[in-house]
């Protein structure tokens, strides 16, 4: 068997190995890296990224892309934090619910454009990204909601913990479990992959492509809305430019995790590892004295290298299949 085919088979294992090697390297450079405190910090920071990445995986599996999630996140976070500012006694769960609802509506709207309107995902999400970003500034009138205006119960969403694990991490784990079941063991979940790997045959076999497309953008929007509340609670500040450009990190986590941009393939386990790898890089680059101004370029290069490696691996697998057939 060829090397590339082997890589494809043990892709997650390889990614895990890479994470271990990277961690050891960083640990040698800076012993503060593998402390319990830093690991906890890292996981908490990665939680929101990985929640979004799971949603993005569904979108990319259907051959789409969603550039609007940073803006959706900001809009939901802003509306939720303005609500708790106006009514400090509100239960934090209600704020979470409200943000998720706002995000779901944003995503559903986008879903209608893509699924019913037939607008290319890149165009639709680029347009709506600006609409949602503009709305964020407009509802807040350009002002921030800062830490002292938020009740402690709201900030407690992100700082609280249960069984010694941070709430954000718990929420992320809960979402993985639900999504793992959804994409692997439900009819609709499998249909998402069917639509992504071959839309024509999916349609012919009776799957409503439009419904599936609408669904994935709506789920993505809902997760972005939830993340918005978590984000605002974690950083204790809601601004007009919250999470600007964050969609790039999320897409990076997906492609690192082996989600194929061509659609049809992607695993929850891969996405989690991809998010953790990206989280480690974000966390460790400052620790090993890499200038923060280099991080953007490094992140971009990682995305590019990851998608190219994915292509090369895929080519190797295809060649391998051909070889096997010729014997």
């Amino acid at each position: 068997m060829q090397l590339s085919a082997k890589i494809a088979k043990f892709r997650e294992l390889g990614l895990l190995g890479f994470i271990v090697v990277l961690s050891v390297f960083i640990q040698l450079r800076n012993p503060k890296f593998l402390t319990l405190e830093n690991i906890n910090d890292l996981l908490t920071n990665t939680a929101i990224l990985s929640i979004l990445a799971v949603g993005m995986m569904l979108v990319i599996v259907t051959r789409g892309i969603d550039l609007s999630i940073g803006a959706t996140l900001a809009l939901s976070g802003m509306i939720a934090s303005m609500t708790v500012k106006a009514y400090p006694s509100i239960h934090p769960l209600l704020a979470i619910l409200e943000g998720t609802l706002v995000g779901t509506v944003c995503g559903a709207l986008l879903g209608v454009l893509v699924a019913r309107g037939g607008v290319l995902p890149i165009i639709a999400t680029l347009g709506m990204m600006n609409v949602y970003r503009g709305l964020t500034f407009m509802v807040s009138d350009g002002k921030w909601v800062s830490a002292h205006e938020m009740p402690d119960s709201f900030k407690g969403i992100a700082t609280g913990s249960a069984f010694g694990i941070n709430t954000l991490v718990l929420i992320a784990i809960l979402i993985y479990v639900v999504m793992f079941y959804f994409v692997n063991y439900t009819r609709t979940g499998r249909q998402i992959y069917a639509v992504g790997s071959n839309p024509e045959s999916a349609q012919i076999s009776g799957i409503s492509n439009a419904r599936i497309l609408w669904l994935v953008y709506t789920i993505m929007g809902g997760l972005a809305g939830l993340s918005g509340v978590l984000w605002v609670s974690k950083f204790a500040s809601a601004q007009g430019d919250t999470a600007m450009g964050y969609e790039m990190s999320v897409i990076a986590a997906c492609v690192l995790g082996g989600v194929s941009i061509a659609g049809g393939s992607g695993k929850i386990s891969g996405v989690i590892l991809g998010s953790i790898l990206l989280g480690i890089l974000n966390n460790a680059l400052p620790l090993i004295d890499v200038s923060p101004f280099w991080q953007t370029a490094i992140q971009g290069s990682i995305i590019l290298v990851a998608v190219i490696v994915n292509v090369l691996v895929k080519r190797g697998v295809d060649r391998n299949h051909l070889l096997r057939r010729s014997i």
Partner: protein, 331 residues
């Protein structure tokens, strides 16, 4: 007896079809915007004002021209704003290091072309990847390199004559308007009157068939993306000249504006359809709309919303028309 059928090389002229073109819609919208603007502000409708307004929006219009080719190919390039930033930052950095300004400007153009060339090369070498994901990653990389060079600094203090690009007049006409007019004519001829232009349409309609018909598809795709990079650098020159200094975060969001104008100009997002004149009309339509709304102090955030909605509706519009399909195309 065999029936003689003559197949005309082009369709017979019809007034109905002539007036049913999307470009007329743009012309009507253009005058609607002018009417709206003059209603909103009494200072708007004035020859000097209308002329000077072009200086405020034409900088990004240079990217629109090659972007039409990119989108007719069925591709997209969202890295253009980052290319603008990188070219601008390289030029300013070289100049502050003591390189003569004309040399710095030429290098900026080369940097832009190189960015575009890399995009094209990656897209051609890795055909499995869509232009979306390639230019998405180079968008981050180019912007990142701009940050690596200037960090959070601004660079400027250009020679006096450099401001002529963005602010100067030749015979009472803004210099930028003249340059844009020249390039607009050149690109219209390139797309509609040359073999190269026909190949671009052919590739946008069917890449595989074009390849098998002997069109050098890879070469043409690389040329088109390189042109886009080059013209992003041209935009960088004019933009930097107008602002007088530059930062790594210049031109953020330009890709949206440019793509919105191209799509509004009637260029199909699935490739193969659209004309240069439509995009040029859209440049002035969106430009004057922005300018007029700016005069009455419409906040920039609302402008974001308007441009975003404009983009989405421009794409939706042809799909909402009854009987819309490939048969109604105008090449």
């Amino acid at each position: 007896m065999m029936e003689q059928r003559v197949i005309l090389s082009r369709r017979p002229f019809s007034w109905k079809r002539f007036f049913l073109q999307w470009e007329w819609m743009l012309v009507i919208l253009f005058f609607l915007v002018q009417a709206l603007n003059s209603l909103l502000s009494p200072y708007y409708l004035d020859a000097d004002n209308l002329r000077d307004a072009t200086m405020t929006f034409l900088d990004k219009a240079f990217i629109v021209l090659p972007m039409v080719l990119v989108m007719i190919l069925g591709d997209i390039d969202i890295s253009v704003a980052s290319t603008v930033a990188l070219s601008s930052v390289v030029m300013a950095d070289l100049y502050t290091m003591g390189v003569p300004m004309p040399v710095a400007m030429v290098i900026a153009l080369l940097v832009g072309s190189l960015c575009g060339f890399i995009n094209g090369l990656l897209i051609v070498k890795f055909k499995e990847l869509s232009s979306v994901i390639v230019t998405l990653s180079t968008m981050i990389i180019y912007r990142g390199i701009a940050y690596m060079i200037l960090e959070d600094q601004a660079a400027g203090k250009f020679p006096e004559w450099f401001s002529f690009l963005g602010w100067g007049y030749v015979g009472g006409v803004p210099f930028i308007l003249i340059v844009f007019a020249v390039f607009a004519v050149a690109f219209t001829l390139l797309l509609h009157r040359t073999t190269f232009g026909r190949y671009v349409y052919a590739m946008g309609n069917n890449m595989t068939a074009s390849r098998f018909s002997g069109v050098q598809v890879d070469k043409i795709r690389i040329i088109v993306f390189t042109l886009t990079g080059l013209f992003a650098a041209v935009t960088a020159l004019f933009l930097t000249s107008r602002m007088g200094s530059t930062r790594p975060n210049v031109a953020t969001g330009y890709e949206l504006d440019v793509i919105a104008m191209v799509v509004l100009g009637g260029i199909s997002t699935s490739g193969g359809r659209g004309r240069m004149i439509g995009a040029i009309l859209a440049v002035f339509l969106v430009g004057y709309l922005r300018y007029g709304l700016g005069l009455v102090n419409v906040p920039a955030q609302l402008m974001l919303v308007i441009i975003g909605l404009l983009l989405v509706f421009a794409v939706l519009m042809p799909k909402l028309r009854p009987g819309a399909g490939k048969s109604g195309r105008s090449v």
